[in-house]
């Protein structure tokens, strides 16, 4: 077992290697991989952003939300309406959507303050169910396009970013979508990190661990909870904007704006590791990989899979996904990041600096995953 002191030369070298590997991957994907893979990673980024936003509320503050698909939808619809009906350039919708989602998020959080646990789960579930119902409503169809939704809301012409060179056609769009999603992802990560490592972030964790105690210690429960819910909603709406700009289509039945979307975000967050900054990233990549890898199963009936599932009326993709989730939860009840950390800890230990240094690594301790579903 290797022991390294925190902030020592070796520690910095290790960090540098980590950053180098990530930077290499980030650059390697859009330049070397097939267009469809680039698209898949961008799709994963979108889900990761949504899961990260949820992590703020559930992972760090302990307030369950099964309603984030609604904020995803608010983002998606804001983008589509502004682009299609008002002729906005898609880029500007990134500024408007979070504002709207923030306001709506705060409005929902205010009455939800008194409600806890399963009741909060159900109230937020109601939000997820209400959103598609409302956008589908005939009386709002003038704005939302009703049941058929809105289409062709995407970049007609890709904006020119000198650093990317000339982007043309499908490959160009994929590369552009990748970088756009990457930038939003980095911003979301930085916002989450900034919050978590701040005084505000510590009050969130205090609320999660014991609400009453937090209040006694001087945390303003109302402001803190409402604010964090609003911020989370705003971040989630960014994912919605990205999703709309990718396909150009929003419909009330689109998977991520319905209850199913909320569930997917939750799965990603928990599977990756609730209450860790890297959890959603790991979870999102694993989820998209698992989902796309299993999807064609059984439909091309040959080999062992054909033998196993040839009898089935439908593809076993979702069943395999479910089994995969159970296995992950048994192997890593605190999420994959927790598992990775424990495995790494067997080989390598970072000895922390003596206490007194203000550097309290809240997000990086082995997570105390308690989310009271």
């Amino acid at each position: 077992m290797l022991k390294i002191k925190e902030a020592s030369a070796q520690h910095w070298a290790l960090r540098l290697v980590g950053v180098g590997v990530i930077a290499f991957l980030v650059l390697w994907i859009p330049t070397q991989m097939a267009t469809s893979r680039i698209g898949q990673v961008s799709d994963a980024f979108v889900l990761i952003i949504a899961a990260m936003s949820l992590n703020l509320v559930l992972g760090f503050t302990g307030q369950i939300s099964i309603g984030h698909s609604a904020f995803f939808g608010i983002g998606g619809y804001t983008a589509a309406i502004l682009v299609k009906d008002y002729g906005w350039s898609p880029g500007y919708t990134f500024y408007v959507a979070p504002v709207i989602a923030f306001v709506v998020g705060c409005l929902i959080a205010l009455p939800a303050l008194r409600i806890k646990g399963v009741y909060l789960a159900l109230v937020t579930l109601a939000v997820a169910v209400l959103f598609p119902t409302l956008v589908k409503w005939k009386k709002l169809a003038w704005l939302t396009g009703g049941a058929k939704g809105i289409d062709s809301a995407r970049y007609d012409e890709l904006p020119v970013w000198p650093i990317l060179g000339e982007l043309k056609g499908r490959d160009g769009r994929a590369v552009f979508a990748y970088w756009l999603a990457f930038i939003v992802l980095v911003i979301t990560y930085l916002v989450c990190r900034g919050i978590v490592k701040s005084r505000f972030g510590r009050s969130l964790v205090a609320i999660r661990d014991n609400e009453t105690a937090a209040a006694v210690m001087g945390v303003n429960l109302t402001t803190t909870k409402v604010l964090v819910f609003g911020i989370s909603a705003a971040l989630c709406s960014l994912a919605g904007v990205l999703s709309t700009l990718r396909t150009g289509v929003v419909t009330p039945e689109g998977q991520y704006v319905t209850l199913l979307g909320s569930i997917v975000f939750l799965l990603i967050m928990i599977v990756g590791g609730a209450g860790t900054l890297w959890g959603p990233i790991v979870g999102g990549l694993i989820y998209v990989w698992l989902d796309s890898a299993t999807r064609g199963f059984g439909t091309n009936s040959d080999g062992i899979i054909g033998f196993l599932f040839g009898w089935a009326d439908q593809s076993p993709a979702t069943l395999i996904l479910g089994v995969g989730l159970v296995i992950i939860m048994f192997a890593a009840p605190y999420g994959l990041v927790g598992l990775i950390k424990r495995l790494v800890a067997k080989v390598l230990v970072i000895v922390p600096k003596p206490l007194g240094d203000s550097h309290l690594a809240i997000g990086n301790t082995v997570p105390d995953t308690d989310s009271r579903v």
Partner: protein, 454 residues
């Protein structure tokens, strides 16, 4: 096993089965009265004043393609057809998974018959779970694998999600398996066409039939599923009702995900006692709806409404479930019912049945028929393109838009045709039929309707 019982009674190949359930698009109904400049000038609307009626004159413009050379490059050896369909993940997959089997079976058939000479046809169908967010990824994957032509993508939002991309890249997006009116827009989306009877044509056919029976005008109750599919029908019904003397007395909806029987909805309609009901339920909901109508009739003696139901329900697989409740309803189709013994004896249909049996696909001869038909039309387009000279993506699109064929499963008298800007919908002839619950067969009512062809 369970399905065998139904195999025995199953009857209709209805091209549209539940596939039509994918409707919905911009395109207000392209009724005779409305035609927005930007919208699809459906050929049921006033034809363009230009002389584009001559199909031969229409040719796709490849100048704006991302890669014009590739769009005009000859395809040799193997042509790859790609599609995205729901094969897993929920109710949609149940209805559509057999389409894949039928589609692939025809491609096999075409290769065995060497319909494209030395060129082999390959087909790859990705699963998008009926989720439009997954369709671009599926299409991307297929494009990376060298797909030349897309055909039979299921679902309106799914097709919309890749329409811009495929038009920009100049890949034919042939025969989208949805009846949305938006697929006839050659000016803005020259590379995209549909395969089903547009919903507005279907609704107008019903309206005409109703008007014939009730020349003085009549009260109509409307029941639709509250999804893009149902809403598109509803919009059309509302926009043409006055022209055909239909007085809509009640509009009721049901959520697509709601399994509850529409008791309250049907009671509400029954309270108004309309002599006619126009219904657009979905999948299993068709049978549930019909059972409720039967209940309401029993509770309201003397009320004997004529029920016109979407072609989506017009499969005996579905109607058989409703039993007597389905007796006497009206619907429409443009493909044959392969379980009708007389039809099954027709040489082309017999060949279809024999081939499907040879592939071990007997259990999907009805539901897979739509896939077979779509693949058949796709290959027919490819054959025509090959005949015109070189087989290129552009020549395929030109062939598609100047095309006439009769399929193995099309009704006698129906031709599938498209012609430049003047005829952008491949299927516009249809037959009103009435269902007989005792024989589980459909009877033709009136003549084949070809009024909507241009």
């Amino acid at each position: 096993m369970k399905r065998k019982t139904y195999r025995a009674i199953a009857l209709a190949v209805v091209g549209s089965l539940a596939i039509a359930a994918c409707g919905g698009d911009d395109g207000e109904s392209s009724s005779d009265t409305s035609s927005e400049a930007t919208n699809a000038p459906g050929d049921t609307s006033a034809p363009d004043d230009t002389d584009a009626a001559d199909g031969e004159a229409w040719a796709v413009n490849t100048d704006d393609c991302v890669d014009p050379a590739a769009a005009n490059a000859p395809i040799e050896g193997t042509i790859k057809i790609g599609s995205a369909m729901p094969l897993s993940g929920g109710v949609a997959a149940a209805a559509f998974a057999p389409v894949k089997g039928g589609f692939e079976a025809y491609v096999k058939y075409a290769n065995e018959k060497k319909l494209l000479g030395d060129i082999t046809i390959e087909v790859a169908i990705e699963d998008d779970q009926y989720n439009k967010d997954l369709t671009p990824a599926a299409v991307d994957k297929l494009l990376d694998a060298g797909t030349h032509v897309f055909s039979g993508i299921i679902g309106t939002p799914n097709n919309l999600a890749v329409r811009d991309l495929l038009n920009e890249e100049c890949y034919p997006q042939l025969l989208a398996l949805t009846g949305s009116i938006g697929w006839g827009d050659a000016e803005n989306y020259p590379w995209t066409t549909g395969v089903l009877i547009p919903y507005d044509v279907e609704v107008k056919a019903y309206a005409t039939a109703i008007q014939r029976d009730f020349p003085e005008g009549v009260d109509v109750g409307v029941f639709v599923v509250n999804s893009e599919f149902g809403q598109e029908y509803l919009t059309t019904i509302e926009s043409i009702a006055a022209d055909y003397g239909l007085n809509i007395v009640d509009e009721q909806t049901i959520e697509a995900t709601d399994s509850a029987p529409p008791t309250a909805q049907v009671n509400s309609i029954a309270a108004k006692q309309p002599p006619v009901i126009l219904a657009v339920p979905l999948g299993a909901g068709c049978a549930t709806f019909l059972a409720e109508v039967a209940n309401a009739k029993a509770a309201n003696p003397g009320w004997e409404p004529r029920v016109y139901i979407t072609a989506t329900c017009a499969s005996s697989l579905i109607l058989g479930l409703a039993g007597d409740a389905a007796n006497g309803l009206y619907t429409s189709n443009n493909l044959v019912d392969v379980l009708d013994p007389e039809i099954a004896a027709l040489p082309a249909v017999a060949e279809y049945l024999a081939f499907m049996e040879g592939q071990g696909l007997t259990d999907i001869i009805t539901t897979g028929g739509a896939g077979w038909h779509t693949a058949e039309m796709t290959v027919a387009i490819l054959v025509k393109a090959l005949e015109s000279g070189e087989l290129t993506r552009a020549s395929i699109m030109n062939a598609a838009r100047s095309f006439e064929a009769v399929g193995m499963l099309t009704r006698p008298g129906v031709t599938m045709k498209m012609s430049g800007l003047s005829d952008q919908y491949i299927a516009q002839s249809l037959q009103i039929v009435q269902y007989d619950a005792t024989t589980k067969l459909f009877t033709d009512i009136g003549d084949l309707i070809t009024d909507y062809e241009s």
